[in-house]
């Protein structure tokens, strides 16, 4: 399974860039297996005014097999999932589901407060809510009118 570190920039659309790159890779390699973009797990990031929500699909990964850590503006997801162990006289007809361990590191757009982080694993979907660190919040500077 893929093991990589991701840094994404928030000023432009990374999604578009990735798709462009993917198209170019496709043209270049033809039908070769595309290991290059095999990032696991895929994440979606929802941005709010004071918090952000990261969701990811990790079917079959149980709570005890998941390790989530936050430090400053870096989020690390670690986990693993085993395959069914087959006994004697048992054979695979088809094996498409990946198994093994994964590590994914994401750089968040701001520092988050580790004490105010919520993680929920439901139906194989992990939802993480991360609050912006108090000290990091932008402060409004009132402008005084001159008398």
């Amino acid at each position: 399974m893929a093991r990589l570190t991701n840094r994404f920039t928030w000023d432009w659309s990374p999604f578009r860039e990735i798709l462009q790159l993917r198209d170019e890779m496709d043209r270049f390699f033809g039908n070769a297996p595309r290991r290059i973009d095999a990032e696991f797990p895929s994440v979606n990031v929802w941005l709010g005014p004071d918090d952000l929500v990261v969701t990811t699909e990790i079917p079959g990964v149980r709570e005890e097999d998941l390790d989530i850590s936050v430090q400053g503006d870096t989020l690390t997801l670690r986990g693993s999932r085993g395959a069914d162990t087959l006994g004697e006289n048992e054979t695979y007809h088809r094996q498409e589901r990946p198994s093994g361990s994964f590590v994914r590191t994401l750089l968040l757009p701001y520092q988050v407060d580790p004490d105010q982080t919520e993680a929920r694993l439901e139906k194989g979907v992990l939802t993480l809510r991360l609050s912006r660190s108090q000290t990091e919040k932008p402060r409004h500077i009132p402008v005084k009118a001159q008398a």
Binding site: R34, N44, Y92, R94, K123
Partner: protein, 140 residues
Amino acid sequence: MANMQTKQAQSTDMQKTEAQTDAPMERTRSRRVFIPRTDIYERPDALVVVADMPGVDQNSVDVNVEKRVLTIAGRVESASSDQRRLSYAEYQTGDYERSFALSDEVDVSKIEASVSHGVLRIVLPKAAEAQPRRIAVTAG
């Protein structure tokens, strides 16, 4: 994404595989449909189908056998939020659908299915006459 057009989900690709748009039948729900990544293995007494369907639970999955075709379908409600906007997206959500032709040896009346952590598991017991039987050979 030229090489994602094959019907079978590719094990080398970590992304979800979307079902083809030129499917023989149109769908009533205007949602994306993905082909769940599936393992199938055979035990002496049964066939086991394991499918990754994140976002699906026991209330939103359908397992059907009709004319010896096993169809699995899952509905996933789209994620949305009033307070937050989707600012970075690597995956999309949608329903799941996939069908498999079954051989005659499956006992359709004894099929069992369960869902846990977004993984659907179906056990299809073989009919008694299809199960391997050891024939004792005696010395004559």
